[in-house]
């Protein structure tokens, strides 16, 4: 099953290119790199200047899928342990290409 914007919530996010596009903390907006690890509330992003741990709930992220599609997702939808997220559903209003 290919990763699509619909099943982004349920798919494996570790290893995907990611960018913080919106957020309450301006110093975090613009962080970009690869997702290296994930906890219930944060992403660990490997950037050129090192690893940054970024909270999910206060930020919006842009993921780049393998076909070149970019999907923007509100971070609060992704709040969950990685092994639990597989059962979560994401409403259509929460993501856009």
């Amino acid at each position: 099953m290919m990763i699509t914007p619909e099943n982004l919530v349920r798919h494996e996010l570790i290893g995907l290119p990611i960018e913080v596009v919106e957020g309450r903390n301006p110093s975090q907006v613009g962080i970009s790199g690869r997702v290296v690890d994930e906890t219930r509330n944060t992403f660990l992003i490997e950037t050129r200047s090192g690893d940054k741990r970024v909270p999910k709930s206060t930020n919006s992220f842009l993921f780049t899928l393998s076909q070149g599609l970019k999907v923007k997702a509100v971070g609060s939808v992704l709040v969950s342990q990685p092994e639990n997220r597989i059962n979560k559903k994401m409403r259509r209003s929460r993501w856009k290409l």
């Binding site: 349920r10 798919h11 690890d37 639990n84 597989i86």
Partner: protein, 101 residues
């Protein structure tokens, strides 16, 4: 089985794919950060347990049964003898034997 549970089967299929992908990432990351590989393995195992999905045999054998760390050439000793592969983990000393024909 009843078709009502179609969503359930799709989730398990997704779990299988994610487990494969995590092991792939573990292999890639191992050179630079072995502790990340261990973490990916633990996520994969937990997901398999939660979704009741079996980890494929060839992937299961890349994990130490004792300390659950990702086994790679740097931390593993593999010997063949009498039709048995003996894998020894360098981290915890666990010895795993797998027969082969």
């Amino acid at each position: 089985m009843s078709r009502r549970k179609k969503g359930y089967y799709r989730a398990r299929e997704l779990a299988r794919e994610r487990i494969e992908r995590l092991f792939l990432l573990a292999e890639e990351e191992h050179l630079r950060r072995p502790e990340r590989s261990d973490r990916y393995v633990s996520i994969a195992r937990r997901m398999g347990m939660r979704m009741r999905v079996r980890i494929p045999r060839r992937l299961k054998r890349r994990v130490c049964k004792g300390c659950r760390c990702y086994l790679s050439p740097g931390r593993t000793r593999v010997r063949l003898r009498d039709g048995v592969v003996t894998v020894t983990c360098a981290e915890c000393g666990e010895v795993m034997r797998y027969p082969y024909r």
